[in-house]
């Protein structure tokens, strides 16, 4: 295997390729990240591998000619399934723990959806109590409106409107009386 040396740090070509393909462990990735910043030639090489990896990942078995595909991939191509089937197959083929977690989650979802149905959530007694409480709240709101109207009549109309008008009328009356007395005298 070809080995490169950068500032006393050895880096194999395999490590570089595995990092570009996203398979390297975290320490190798960090090491390459550090070295890429220091050495532009390494960065260029890494980018080249990375773009190749991206191109390869985008190729689906269906696009490959039969002659280029190994037998294992040919079999995989035949087993190409839609998304839902893949998930269901995954449930059967994979270990029990993730499958169990998935089923529990499905159960919780169904339970919460069913819980939204009001008929199943409340008893007759609860509905009757709610009916009474609705009415009580509406009565309360209405009583506040009635009090407000009373206050409006009492304070605004009598104190702020009627009383000043009365006072004004009294002043005019007094003034007229004074004038009449002056004329008589």
């Amino acid at each position: 295997m070809k080995t490169m040396k950068f500032n006393k740090t050895k880096l194999s070509e395999a490590e570089l390729i595995s990092s570009a393909y996203g398979d390297a462990n975290i320490f190798t990735r960090l090491k390459i990240l550090y070295l890429r910043k220091k050495h532009p030639e390494l960065k260029a090489l890494f980018c080249e591998y990375k773009s190749t990896a991206k191109l390869l990942k985008n190729i689906v078995p269906e696009d490959c000619p039969d002659t280029l595909l190994p037998t294992s991939l040919k079999q995989n191509r035949k087993q190409y399934h839609p998304y839902l089937i893949k998930v269901l197959l995954g449930l059967i083929n994979k270990p029990a723990l993730p499958a169990a977690a998935f089923l529990i989650l499905i159960f919780i979802t169904l339970f919460s959806v069913l819980k939204t149905s009001p008929e199943q959530s409340f008893s007759q007694l609860e509905v009757e109590l709610a009916n009474k409480q609705v009415k009580q709240t509406l009565v309360l709101v209405n009583s506040v409106f009635r009090t407000s109207t009373k206050q409006l009549r009492k304070n605004i109309l009598s104190e702020k409107v009627a009383n000043p008008i009365n006072e004004g009328m009294n002043i005019i009356e007094d003034y007229i009386k004074e004038k009449q007395n002056e004329t008589l005298n």
């Binding site: 998304y83 893949k86 998930v87 995954g90 449930l91 994979k94 993730p98 499958a99 977690a101 998935f102 989650l105 499905i106 919780i108 979802t109 919460s112 959806v113 819980k115 939204t116 009001p118 008929e119 959530s121 409340f122 609860e126 509905v127 709610a130 009916n131 009474k132 409480q133 609705v134 009415k135 009580q136 709240t137 509406l138 009565v139 309360l140 709101v141 209405n142 009583s143 506040v144 409106f145 009090t147 407000s148 206050q151 409006l152 304070n155």
Partner: protein, 183 residues
Amino acid sequence: MKHLIKLTLMIFAVNIFILAQHKDYSKETGYIDFGNLEELESGNRVVDVFLEGNLLRLVGKFAENEEPELSEVISGLKLIKAKVLEVTRENEKQLKARVLETENLLKGKNWSMLVRIRDVDEIINVYIKSSSLDKIEGLTVTSINKDEAAFVNIVGDIDLETIGRLSSKFDIPALDRLNGHKR
């Protein structure tokens, strides 16, 4: 395996969405948070009403035949929240402060004032939140006098005229007489 993880995460997100839909009313335009009113409970008389959309729809359905008007009013509502507390020496100042705080909150959220009364013994605030001229989405009533303080928030399509007409028909005791009812 990747598909399974993706689907599990999707279902998990749906679950959170469903659960959030049930309990979070804070995003409703007509909702207002009165804060923790329980800490202000001091007297014996406490009335606490909290009726959510599901239950209100069911009440509306049950009232369809006997009280069609009530059923009509309720069916548009999403939440009814009411709390009536007895005013005592201990909690009077705090309750008044909470009424005024709520008023500032309503003003800050651009609610429209319907009634605002400041008297020596009484404070009354009635605010509405409307999306258009004829559609009210929220009603908030806060009042305090010598005896009791009331905090009411109704969320949903509200028809004030029908509420006024209806409540005068109800032959039921007022909330302040329901001593000891605690939810």
